[in-house]
Amino acid sequence: MATLQSLDLQRRSATSGTPPAARKTLEVAKLIDVSKCIGCKACQVACMEWNDLREEVGEVTGVYDNPHDLSPATWTLMRFTEWDNPDTGNLEWLIRKDGCMHCSDPGCLKACPAPGAIVQYSNGIVDFVSENCIGCGYCVKGCPFNIPRISKADNKAYKCTLCSDRVAVGQAPACVKACPTQALVFGSKEDMIAHGEERVADLKSRGYDKAGVYDPAGVGGTHVMYVLHHADKPPIYAGLPLAPKISPLVEMWKGLTKNVGLLGIGFAAVFGFMHYVVNGPNRVSDEDEQAAAKLKGDGT
């Protein structure tokens, strides 16, 4: 996607400092209530329709997950897990809508070496700006949720935009609009947390005493949150990370490594300058000239 909201950028990849922002928008969030989700995939279809994406018609491999994974043409996906609850002995069919979590501290943006290829708006949405993307795939490594996918067609990274184009004009994301059971809701992050807590209270009254809102602190919280019946065990929901963090490689690259590197570059520059000041410019000695002439082989 191209950025439509240059007025309120709060972060920009491979750019130092905060970009100038003319306005500050409300921090938004999508809440996915797994306990209300019936897995109808209306969100998936709405996403494909709004964003004009068409995956190939695939085949059945033994599960209801179709397509089988996120892709440049599949930005959101229902993941179905059959889980035997050891406490009750009952089967539970856990259905989780997977897609970009729009982290407050986005690993993809941090990892991205291309200036302005990944941006974060002041409303919290993390967006990919295709024309700046160099297809290096660092965002894939940087994402603790394994979300971005690189297109073989144009070698650019793609993922859910949280319908930044719709949100910019006061509309809810397409998936939220399509959801028949209000398992998906959208609003200010504050309201979504409050709503999530109401839902958690309801689930606790139904015996899910470990119910909770998934808004992981390791990435500074997210702008896509889940209500989980078993918030103590996120991994049972098709591998939702227990405590997601930005990969240490990215942290090192952006943190220590980058600073050490910068320090190294700085040190080299300083050393060079000092060397010049102290020793004067490098000169070519007569021996060097002769050796070079020998190598050239003209014998003169």
Partner: protein
């Protein structure tokens, strides 16, 4: 639905059984989510599979496919033995107190009621009735103690369905069954209510009507009929299939559920004489006494000025049926070579009628087949060879096929009638593509050409065609607006107020306000009496879009138009006790305020009829009360009884000699191809997936992306036993055919213990065929048996027998 979609939010318990609302009705399911979120409701799911509905339920109980009647009779037995039923409601609002004739009998060893004729597979139902008193009314015993009272007979009848017996028949663990009973029983008090949501999981059995009746009886025992958040709610499977049955597209009914004349009723007088709606108790309304008014108004709508009192309003021109001409009967006749032409409108029988091989053979015998459809259906292309998927020698098919492309729903305006009985007008969104025309234009064109041919060439029995009233502004294009006005009906002469002849209710030519203004003297016409009120002089009521809900109870009285009379909850007078006082403040709905019945909905009662008159709340019935005992109305008995599907893995433990529905119609040749458990040991059941809508959306790329291919679902146990890999190819076969599919191995298919025997289920989604965007497939009806419900002839798709084996590779792709 007796109630409405929006009313589901008032439920305290939602029982989803015989359906999978989350999967097949996701948009309506929002009201279940609403009941859970804001009414603290509990969702209970009973199903042979752990469905998408089960995934969001509070409690799930497995059941063997096809044993729902036994399960529900078990629940009624639980209510009666624990006393958790609504005793006052049962006493006053049901026929529990009615005394049944002493010639009536049920033999529990035989599983048969009195009057059975084994040769004809039918009952003489004369003993299935009440004892009549000398006063001409049915005899009652309000103490409910009389041994032949309906209450005592029912108690005795269901006493066999103990929790242990339910477990033996249904395979539902006793503790789970009892937990479900507890949930259900919590609503038998007037304070709480339970809604039942069902769909084809109940109807598609050879005894489906009886299962649904059992659900109705259960709700009556609990006092859950006529109250907010209650009812027996059929979730209709098409956006307008409610409209289809309402306006008489079932072969045994004319519009508004009036009866199709039979050949034993040669005259209108004889037709009326066969329908005696005299009240069975003093002071009862017995609303069907107005039958003649509706019937004559229908005939006037059909034949216009040609319908006169002297010719019995053209009754002679209606076909007189010798038997029911349902879909199965039609294809049976086609298969026998007796039906030579077929007009197939919005219908894909090659995939949707049982036994695809028989279907294909039947279609091959036709002289002509007309397919009126927005899509190229498998039926229209039945003659094409698609390799294994449709293996036919095209050169041998002589059937001439005409495809008349029609517009699809968004390409025309008109009304849909949804499950809530609500007519919603919709507006055209786009023009149809290419040469497509609306269904109305196609039918009008056909009709006018046929009428011209009769005029030119004459022919046998031209009257029904020649006399059909065709009074539209554009004969070739009757507008949906005109058609709805016609269904509503109008006055043909000035209608005088019967209570005050100086007053004129409606001038000649004016639309009637409702069916109360219809007459049996030919002075009114109405194409469908229950739609009366949908398009009055005030305008098109179905186009109303005011969703205000003053009571907050989900009534929305100004949204569209709900038949009858814009009533959202049927039998709503029963929300108050015999004195007209609400059973509880919590479930208050319609009550008597001293001078009239008031509440947020249109009362299902005479608005000023005092409770002192003691007219019962079920005004359509001659008794004034509801029926736990169905009298002569059902083919196989006045009480429901457990029968096995025609193909069952086990014996009928209650009466092995009568394992299956003794009154179901089975054609010669079809009985012979029922399989047995020896050869086909597994229970198969068919169903929908949320990603698709019947056989339509497989033509849509988006739907194909999210569910691309036919598969069958089996348990990990069965997969292990058979050496089947998850995602691998299998062959599934019944005694009628064989299909190949991918296997989805899943714990969501429970393995059941039925009377000591392990029963495996093979689940099969419908939806897939050999045309469209999804991968080519065979059609699950290749496997299904050609037998239907004894009352409605709905095919038995939900329980039959198959075998399964692993395959090294899939079908050869042509």
């Amino acid at each position: 639905m007796t109630n409405s979609w929006t009313d589901i939010k008032n439920a305290d318990i939602v029982l989803v059984m015989g359906g999978n609302a989350a999967e097949a009705h996701p948009c309506g399911f929002k009201w279940v989510a609403e009941a859970k979120a804001h009414n603290n409701a509990r969702l209970v799911v009973v199903d042979p599979r752990f469905t998408r509905s089960a995934a969001v339920s509070d409690y799930y109980c497995p059941i063997r496919a096809g044993t729902d009647t036994a399960y529900l009779l078990g629940v009624i037995n639980y209510l009666l033995t624990t006393g958790k039923y609504h005793a006052e409601y049962v006493k006053h609002f049901t026929n529990a107190s009615y005394i049944v004739k002493d010639t009536f009998a049920f033999n529990p060893e035989e599983g048969l009621y009195s009057g059975y004729n084994a040769e004809r597979r039918t009952y003489d139902r004369s003993s299935w009735d009440y004892e009549m008193g000398e006063d001409g009314f049915a005899v009652r015993d309000l103490t409910l103690e009389h041994p032949r009272s309906v209450f005592q007979l029912l108690k005795q009848h269901v006493s066999r369905y103990t929790p242990e017996m339910v477990e033996r028949i249904c395979g539902s663990p006793k503790d789970k069954f009892l937990k479900v009973c507890e949930y259900i029983g919590s609503t038998g008090n007037g304070e709480k209510s339970m809604t039942i949501m069902y769909a084809l999981g109940w109807t598609q059995h050879s005894y489906g009507s009886q299962t649904i009746r059992t659900a109705g009886m259960l709700q009556l025992m609990l006092g859950n009929m006529g109250v907010p958040g209650g009812g027996v709610n059929a979730l209709r499977g098409h956006s307008n299939v409610q409209g289809l049955t309402d306006i008489g597209l079932l072969s045994q009914s004319t519009p508004g559920y009036l009866a199709m004349p039979t050949d034993r009723e040669p005259t209108l007088a004889s037709h009326f004489a066969n329908r005696d709606f005299r009240p069975l108790q003093a002071n009862q309304i017995s609303f069907w006494q107005n039958y003649n008014k509706f019937y004559v108004s229908l005939l006037k709508a059909m034949y216009g000025t040609a319908a006169t009192k002297d010719n019995e309003f053209g009754y002679a021109w209606l076909p007189k049926i010798d038997k029911v001409y349902d879909t199965l009967q039609q294809f049976e006749l086609m298969h026998q070579g007796q039906m030579n032409g077929y007009i197939c409108q919005g219908f894909n029988p090659l995939l949707s009628v049982p036994n695809k091989n028989k279907m294909r053979a039947a279609l091959s015998k036709l002289k002509f087949l007309v397919s009126i459809d927005p899509l190229e259906t498998e039926t229209a292309r039945f003659w094409e060879n698609h390799g294994e998927f449709n293996d036919i020698d095209s050169a041998k098919v002589q059937t001439e096929v005409f495809m008349l492309p029609s517009t699809c729903f968004a390409e025309d305006e008109g009304s849909f009638t949804n499950s809530s009985r609500t007519l919603n007008w919709r507006w055209k969104a786009a023009d149809g593509p290419g040469e497509s025309r609306t269904d109305t234009v196609i039918m009008a064109d056909l009709f006018l050409r046929i009428r011209d041919l009769y005029a030119k060439n004459g022919g046998a029995v031209p009257e029904p065609i020649q006399n059909l009233d065709w009074n539209y502004v554009q004969a070739r294009n009757p507008s949906p607006d005109e058609l709805l006005r016609e269904l509503n009906g109008k006055a043909l002469a000035d209608l005088k107020d019967p209570t005050d002849p100086t007053k004129i209710l409606r001038r000649a030519g004016e639309q009637v306000d409702g069916f109360a203004q219809l007459r049996d003297d030919g002075s009114t016409m109405s194409g469908c009496w229950i739609y009366s009120g949908a398009y009055t002089e005030a305008g098109n009521m179905t186009a109303r879009r005011d969703n205000t809900d003053p009571s907050g109870l989900g009534v929305h009285p100004k949204w569209g138009f709900a038949w009858p009379a814009n009533r959202r909850v049927l039998y709503n007078r029963a929300s108050s006790d015999p004195n007209g006082k609400p059973w509880s403040a919590r479930k208050q709905y319609i009550h008597w305020n001293g001078s009239r019945w008031v509440g947020p909905d249109v009362p299902d009662y005479a608005p000023t009829l005092s409770p002192e008159r003691a007219a019962g709340p079920f005004i359509m019935n001659a008794e004034g009360v509801s029926r736990l005992f169905a009298r002569k109305l059902m083919a196989e008995g006045p009480f429901p009884e457990h029968y096995e599907p025609f193909e069952s893995p086990v014996a009928n433990v209650l009466h092995p000699k009568t394992p299956t529905n003794p009154a179901a119609r089975v054609f010669k040749g079809d009985m012979e191809v029922f399989g047995t458990a020896k050869d086909f040991p597994y229970v198969a059941t068919t169903y929908r997936l949320t990603e698709h809508f019947h056989y339509w959306t497989k033509h849509v790329k988006l739907n194909a992306i999210v569910q691309p291919e036919f598969f069958v679902e089996i348990s990990p146990d069965l997969a292990r036993e058979k050496g089947i890999q998850n995602g691998g190819w299998v062959r599934v076969f019944s005694n009628r055919g064989s299909v190949k599919a991918k296997a989805v191995v899943t714990k969501r298919i429970p393995v059941l213990k039925v009377d000591g025997k392990t029963v495996h289920t093979v689940g099969m989604p419908i939806h897939f065929g050999f045309i469209g965007e999804t991968k080519k497939s065979f059609g699950v009806n290749t496997l299904t048996p050609f037998v239907g419900d004894a009352n409605t002839q709905t095919p038995e798709y939900k329980a039959f027998l198959v075998d399964i084996e692993p395959l090294a590779s899939g079908p050869a792709v042509s």
